[in-house]
């Protein structure tokens, strides 16, 4: 019963995703072919799922933050910090569990820092998280001591980025598990409602007894954790921590994924499923542009144009136009209903 509602509510995103995938298939005929080599699935579609892991993970945390009427600009920088932490821990001889625990802890701490600025000091989220966005890459460089810290000899950490399990690439498994966990926790508990309420009207929520500060702290902490997971995957993928480029501009892709997914930057109602679809739309776009073999200087412009088209289609103005078209038919239905009513 829940599935049809989700599908119905996310129809625009679904249509966009299908159209872009279809375009990809036209550009590169083998796009939908999937084959198994060495017990692992390969193909462009799997590649979209795999490469999309960092943006998808960031979009999960970003959705919750945006639902509270906030924004987290620091996630790309947090990825760089966490990548540096992971690389330096594993190269210093710590075990994989210790490395992962340390990395996640650092991500959590970054998130709590943002949350404290927003929830306790009432600094505007865009400014509060800008601080860590600017400082983050500097912190990451301090940790790696200015070099790209590689760990070619640490297969256990590399496995997180390029290994596979049940024939699926590890990053795919990780983001799917995180997404399912997040959706379950948010929708099975009352957290989703409380987050939406804070986004719509924080004062009224506080006056009704919601512990708004704790919930704000928590959503930024979750965003930091998601960025940490993404950071570990990104570092493991290239077998090293690149303080300057890891997660660069990904906060923008994550915000875009959330907006394409149908969550308003004004806060309130949010959809994690929508954001996941938004992330997939962005990744399909990236992959498609690469497959098309355009000169690289066009890539960003093509991406921008396509995203502009998506946003125009989703804009309130065009939604209203479509709704107007729909209500015209609806009016007729209501009128007939009324007549029946009157007849009774």
């Amino acid at each position: 019963m829940a599935v049809p509602t989700i599908v119905r509510e996310r129809t625009p995103q679904l249509i966009v995703l299908v159209v872009i995938l279809a375009l990809n298939a036209i550009i590169s005929p083998g796009f939908f072919s999937i084959e198994i080599q060495n017990d692992r699935l390969y193909g462009s579609l799997i590649d979209v799922l795999n490469r999309g892991a960092p943006v998808t993970l960031l979009a999960i945390g970003m959705t919750l933050v945006i639902a509270t009427k906030g924004i987290d600009l620091s996630v790309g920088a947090v990825m760089a910090i966490v990548g540096a932490v992971a690389a330096s821990l594993i190269t210093s001889g710590y075990s994989l569990p210790a490395t992962l625990a340390g990395s996640l802890f650092v991500g959590l701490a970054c998130g709590l820092w943002n949350g404290a600025l927003v929830a306790l000091l009432d600094i505007q989220p865009i400014i509060a998280t800008l601080i860590l966005m600017v400082a983050g890459r500097g912190i990451a460089q301090l940790i790696t001591e200015g070099v790209i810290l590689t760990f070619n000899d640490k297969p256990e950490l590399i496995f997180v980025g390029s290994g596979s399990f049940l024939s699926l690439p590890m990053p795919v498994i990780i983001w799917v598990v995180v997404a399912i966990l997040a959706i379950l926790v948010v929708r099975r508990s009352a957290l989703g409602l409380l987050i939406e309420a804070i986004g719509v009207n924080r004062r009224a929520s506080t006056l009704s007894g919601v512990n708004s500060r704790v919930i704000l702290l928590a959503v930024y902490a979750v965003s930091g954790l998601c960025a940490a997971v993404a950071g570990v995957i990104a570092a493991a993928d290239i077998k090293g921590a690149d303080a300057n480029n890891a997660g660069l501009w990904l906060e923008m892709d994550a915000i875009l994924a959330v907006v394409i997914g149908g969550t308003s930057l004004l806060g309130g109602r949010f959809s994690l499923v929508g954001s996941l679809m938004g992330a997939m739309i962005i990744q399909s776009l990236n992959t498609g542009i690469l497959l098309a073999g355009f000169p690289p200087e066009f890539n960003l412009i093509i991406k921008a144009v396509i995203i502009l088209i998506i946003l125009i289609v989703q804009s309130p103005a065009s939604q209203a136009a479509m709704a107007g078209f729909r209500t015209n038919r609806h009016t007729v239905a209501v009128k007939t209903e009324n007549r029946e009513h009157a007849a009774r």
Binding site: A190, L193, L194, N201, A204, L207, S208, T327, V334, K335
Partner: protein, 506 residues
């Protein structure tokens, strides 16, 4: 009327939304030099009619004549050009701009392609002078009270339009003195020969200012009558379509006065908000707070509910001192608070009626213990039925409900938490007459079932009706406590007015 051509004449206008009729075959005639009140419960069709006159909606049928000429305003700007201006309850000006900029926004006098600030200020000053308003037109509008902002809004509307002025609940957030100031302006405009359409929930004000009244009900015209000699009960029954029950005066059980207080305030105060005061509230008792706007009424409620922190005094619940440093702590003690400003402090606009009803209970249970969907629906349906909340659907976003129904949802939100002590700040402000009576009945009913209530209201008549005791605040001080036979509007007025030489009214 037989005298010359009417200024504005609406003939047989109808309007339907999605096939549901909002206005059916309504006539309305406004003479020049007349203040014409438009009355009706929420949903009667007042705002639809106004929006048709001001061009915000297109009519389905009928005609609108301005000075005998049929008009078809395409939008609000078009209507303004034709001579029909509107001023809304929430002043729709830009408070960060200067008074002069607000008056001339979008039509600034130009000199060499740039705004001629000196000319604009000079003309602004001249315009406001005609209203007897001598203020610094170069100061930001935000520096002035809402009443002055209203007058500026009116001045702008009159200056642009100049024939018909629509005032949509202009007095809702003004105190008595400010209302007088506004009415002086309205009378002056009437004398100049403008036609003024006045919409208000305050019947006293309608009697004071209006020359004639048109009553709408369920989208239909009930009648247009001159105000002079109109019986008040008859007017209310025209609006409601039924005879209003006689005023309810609650009988007070003498035993309650002896019982232990549930909530005791001792020396509770906060500098700049409210001077320290003592107050006991017992179960089965309604304590009323009377006073002018700004007298410290809301501030008192905010201290008790932990929204503001007191800097002196204590709050005890059932004899035990408690720390009241946040609304959560107050709620944990069984307190509940319906705020005055429903929009910013009460409703969570985008969420549904169901979510708004279960909201405080869910917040109290914590996020880990969600109410199941079926529990939520049962709770919502129960309160929608019990409080007669008019909504097409429990999943409708609450922002689409009328003020009275939003207020009932907020009451439901708190009743769902089963509180011991309920604080209501202006529970009947800005809501229609029908819901008004129901909320008063609910207050009495809750009290009789043993709840303790603290009610703040500007409507002294209703406060006198249900309060067991009334405290009167003036200039952030408690000046009087009325009990028993002392409870009357006369006594309250006297307490508010007594040796008033020192304080400012607002």
């Amino acid at each position: 009327m037989a005298n010359a051509q009417p200024l504005l004449s609406v003939r047989g206008v109808s309007k339907a939304f999605l096939g549901v009729s909002a206005l059916e075959n309504v006539d309305f005639t406004l003479q020049a030099g007349e203040v014409h009140a438009l009355l009706g419960e929420n949903g009667a069709g007042k705002s639809t009619l106004i929006k048709i006159i001001t061009g915000a909606y297109r009519r389905d049928e009928g005609e609108v004549l301005l000075e005998g000429t049929p008009i078809h305003p395409r939008d609000v700007v078009d209507a303004q050009k034709l001579g029909i201006g509107t001023v809304y309850q929430e002043v729709n000006l830009l408070t960060n701009l200067t008074v002069a900029e607000n008056l001339f926004l979008g039509r600034q006098p130009k000199r060499f392609g740039l705004t001629d600030v000196r000319e604009m200020n000079r003309r602004s000053k001249a315009i406001l002078d005609t209203y007897g308003l001598d203020i610094d037109v170069t100061a930001p509008l935000a520096n002035f009270s809402v009443a002055i902002q209203q007058v500026v809004a009116i001045a702008r509307a009159v200056d642009i339009s100049g024939k018909v002025l629509v005032l949509d609940e202009p007095t809702a957030s003004l105190d008595a003195h400010e209302v007088e100031m506004l009415f002086a302006v309205v009378r002056q405009l009437r004398a100049r020969g403008m036609g003024i359409i006045f919409i208000s929930h305050f019947l006293d004000q309608v009697y004071e200012i209006a020359d004639s009244i048109t009553v709408l009900r369920n989208g239909r015209l009930i009648d247009t009558v001159p105000v002079a000699g109109l019986d008040r009960l008859k007017l209310v029954s025209m609006m409601l379509g039924r005879q209003l029950e006689a005023d309810i005066k609650r009988t007070i059980d003498p035993n309650t006065a002896q019982s232990e207080p549930l909530v005791s305030l001792r020396g509770l105060g906060k500098r700049g908000n409210i001077d320290p005061l003592d107050l006991d509230i017992r179960q089965g008792e309604v304590v009323g707070i009377a006073g002018l706007l700004g007298s410290g009424r809301t501030e008192t409620a905010q201290l008790v509910f932990g929204i503001e922190r007191a800097d002196s005094g204590t709050i005890s619940v059932a004899g035990t001192p408690v720390n009241m440093s946040s609304p959560r702590k107050a709620i944990a003690q069984g307190f509940a608070f319906c705020p005055e400003d429903r929009k910013t402090d009460g409703i969570v606009g985008d969420l549904s009626v169901r979510e708004n009803i279960i909201f405080a209970l869910q917040a109290q249970r914590g996020w880990m213990r969600p109410l199941s969907r079926s529990e939520q629906e049962a709770l919502a349906d129960r309160y929608i039925a019990a409080l007669d909340i008019r909504t097409s659907d429990r999943e409708k976003p609450i922002k689409f409900l009328s003020g009275g129904n939003q207020q009932k949802v907020l009451l439901a939100r708190w009743l769902a938490t089963n509180p011991r002590f309920l604080i209501l700040d202006e529970p009947t402000r800005g809501i229609d007459v029908g819901a008004h009576a129901e909320i008063i009945r609910l207050i009495i009913d809750l009290c009789e079932r043993g709840m303790a209530l603290l009610v703040i209201s500007s409507e002294l008549g209703e406060l006198v009706g249900y309060s067991s005791r009334i405290i009167v605040l003036r200039d952030r001080k408690m000046v009087s406590e009325l009990t028993g036979d002392e409870i009357s509007t006369d006594h309250i007025m006297k307490a508010i007015a007594s040796h008033d030489a020192t304080g400012e009214a607002a």
